[in-house]
């Protein structure tokens, strides 16, 4: 096993990886930019090295500096986390060339899965379902009609030369096909000087469900089931759960998706942790979307539902150990949900809200897991994404997990900046969410129907009372104001104890 590992990342994921390394008795090396000198991941590490100014292009994305740091500190392996260099094939290759183990798949796997079209072809070759479509030009409406006979409506006509929705038509029935084809072709001609169209099955309000995989270098690979990631905003996941309410309700679906994901990964000679993403329609038919060749942000829900430490498994197989799990060892218990807590204002178009955290109260108690890199007095930097923490809960059922998450969110208090905590509380109270009717447009539709986050009526008078009390206490008075202030405090405390 490794004696020392460098984490080529920052923030919560660096802290997350370090926690497991420490449990494995492996020394940790942090890297940091100017903005992160006092960040938790630096303070927590055994060793740390500055790698450049705040912009990530000058620090966390500098392969040369990170490898220099690894050499100087004698790290035997590098964990890339997610984001930054984690899916950079050149970085994986450079690590191996420098004699260090990249804790992830081979550079070749990263490269092959990095191309969407190559990945789609690989998936098709491996027999995994892809969104049905003929990606070459149709001779006329008859070709689309034949396609519809095979795959059904609705379908989507798209301009071969297209983009931005131009030359695109949705078709729901045979009767609409001819005119839709004419309109789309003429629009494509006008927009791109090319009337050619192709046809694709339209997946309406799809779910985004992904399968977690992990394999060793000897061809052993298991899946850890699915994560439902349909709650997205601007194509960014904000809430994830395991199991998926849909998969949980459909016998055999997890196994079918898991098998399909394993086939794709095996055909790519994949090892270490990876995630195969699928679009899923209302009937539960699933289609390969892409493969992510790294640890996912939302991996904690899988860890909570299966009880396995994915980072530990990553490190073990990277060190050349054989996977100690067989598929039958993986079992799922209860329900896990994660909320990504961002520094952003959910009532002002989710505008980022960097700044100083003036006070912080973290949720605790049964079934609560918090992966964060935040502390009281920390200044949320403007240089990186505004993820403050991932709050995850586990409970026996989805319903009780929702109640637990609501409870934890009520305990969570971050002062000084805006966060999306109340936004999650509203989603968790939403009937559609509670019924498990999820799809990737869920948040957009939810924002349309959401009511203001209105307080119970009694709270406003309490707020008025506290404001008056606070205002009086902090009002500048005579020179002895300071002494009086603390006196008020004393009295307040004494009163509270009576």
């Amino acid at each position: 096993m490794f004696r020392k590992v460098l984490i080529a990342n920052r923030g919560e994921i660096a802290v997350r990886v370090m926690r497991t390394l420490r449990e494995m008795d492996i020394a940790t090396v942090a890297v940091f930019s100017d903005a992160d000198r006092t960040s938790l991941h630096v303070r927590m590490a055994d060793e740390a090295e500055w790698v450049g100014p705040s912009p990530s292009a000058e620090s966390y994305l500098r392969i040369d500096r990170i490898l220099d740091a690894a050499r100087r500190h004698g790290a035997e392996a590098i964990h890339p986390g997610y984001g930054f260099l984690s899916e950079n094939a050149d970085f994986a290759a450079a690590c191996e060339a420098a004699g260090m183990v990249f804790i992830g798949p081979s550079a070749e796997s990263i490269r092959r899965m990095g191309s969407k079209t190559a990945a789609r072809q690989m998936a098709m070759a491996a027999g995994a379902p892809v969104v049905p479509g003929a990606h070459e030009a149709l001779a006329g409406p008859a070709g689309a009609r034949a396609f519809a006979r095979q795959f059904g409506y609705p379908l989507l006509l798209k301009a071969v030369a297209g983009g931005g929705g131009k030359g695109m038509r949705r078709v729901d029935a045979d009767a609409e096909l001819d005119s839709a084809f004419r309109d789309a072709a003429s629009e494509a001609e006008r927009s791109f000087s090319n009337p050619d169209l192709y046809v694709e099955k339209l997946i309406e309000r799809p779910r985004h469900i992904e399968i977690q995989l992990l394999g060793d270098r000897y061809g052993n690979m298991v899946h850890f089931g699915e994560r439902e990631c349909s709650i997205q905003r601007r194509h960014q996941k904000v809430m994830e759960e395991c199991p998926s309410p849909l998969v949980a309700a459909q016998p055999g679906m997890r196994e079918a998706m898991g098998e399909a994901a394993l086939r794709v990964a095996r055909s790519a000679g994949y090892y270490n942790a990876g995630t195969v993403e699928f679009l899923v329609d209302a009937r539960g038919d699933f289609y390969f979307l892409e493969m992510n060749t790294r640890l996912q942000v939302e991996h904690p829900v899988t860890e909570l539902a299966t009880g396995h430490d994915l980072v530990r498994l990553q490190i073990e197989v990277a060190a050349g150990e054989k996977l100690r799990l067989r598929q039958e060892d993986i079992a799922w218990r209860g329900s896990a949900i994660e909320c990504r807590i961002y520094a952003e204002d959910p009532y002002n178009n989710f505008f980022p809200s960097p700044g100083k955290i003036t006070r912080l109260t973290r949720p605790l108690g049964p079934g609560v897991r918090l992966d964060g890199c935040v502390h009281d007095g920390w200044i949320v930097p403007i240089d990186y994404d505004p993820l403050l923490a991932k709050l995850a809960v586990w409970s026996e059922t989805r319903q009780s997990a929702i109640a637990r998450m609501l409870r934890a969110l009520r305990e969570y208090d971050v002062a000084g900046i805006h966060t999306n905590i109340t936004f999650f509380r509203q989603i968790l109270e939403d009937e559609e969410f509670r019924a498990g009717r999820l799809h990737t447009r869920f948040v957009d539709e939810f924002l349309e129907r959401r009511k203001p986050f209105a307080p119970p009526p009694d709270l406003e008078s309490i707020a008025a009372l506290v404001a008056a009390f606070h205002s009086a206490r902090s009002a500048p008075r005579t020179e002895s104001a300071q002494a009086q202030r603390s006196r008020w405090l004393d009295i307040g405390r004494r009163e509270a104890l009576r």
């Binding site: 008025a464 009372l465 008056a468 206490r473 009002a475 009086q484 307040g492």
Partner: protein, 151 residues
């Protein structure tokens, strides 16, 4: 004697005689409120004139109909000479501890004010003579009222 506050365009008259609330400062900007047997925790974020109160994740923007300017004016005398003791919030004088003309030590108790069901002892800002004592037992005072002056 009331303090007027606006929240969301609604005016609240805070009447300390009527509240029945116990407020305890837990840490700077955090208050624990007990009222009618219920417990609330409130957090304040203040920037200049704006006070934002958070209770249970709900956000209340509060406009205070400026008692502070009042108290600032009332309290503006140098450390030398005469120093006024000013009511920090609306309340009721429950007890006088000194009389006009008394010599007092710095931080000696002068009178007791009750506000929001809490009794607060007002202390002498410096050693000297009580040159005026406007406060009368049982009288209600507004935030910013001059209660006594020490010279």
């Amino acid at each position: 004697m009331r303090l007027s506050l606006d929240i969301d365009g609604r005016t609240h008259e805070i009447d300390p005689e009527h509240g029945g609330a116990q407020i305890a400062a837990v840490e700077p900007g955090v208050y624990s409120v007990l009222m009618d047997g219920r417990s609330y925790e409130a957090r304040i974020e203040q920037s200049d004139a704006r006070i934002v109160v958070f209770i249970d994740g709900y956000r209340f923007e509060v406009q205070i109909r400026d008692p502070r300017r009042w108290s600032r004016q009332a309290g503006r005398h140098g450390a030398e000479g005469r120093l006024n003791v000013v009511a920090p919030m609306p309340g009721k004088i429950v007890r006088l501890l000194v009389a006009e003309g008394d010599m007092v030590e710095a931080a000696q108790g002068l009178l007791v004010v009750e506000a929001m069901k809490m009794q607060n002892e007002m202390k002498a800002p410096k050693a000297g003579r009580v040159v005026s004592l406007a406060a009368r037992e049982g009288a209600t005072v507004a935030a910013g009222d001059v209660l006594a002056a020490i010279e």
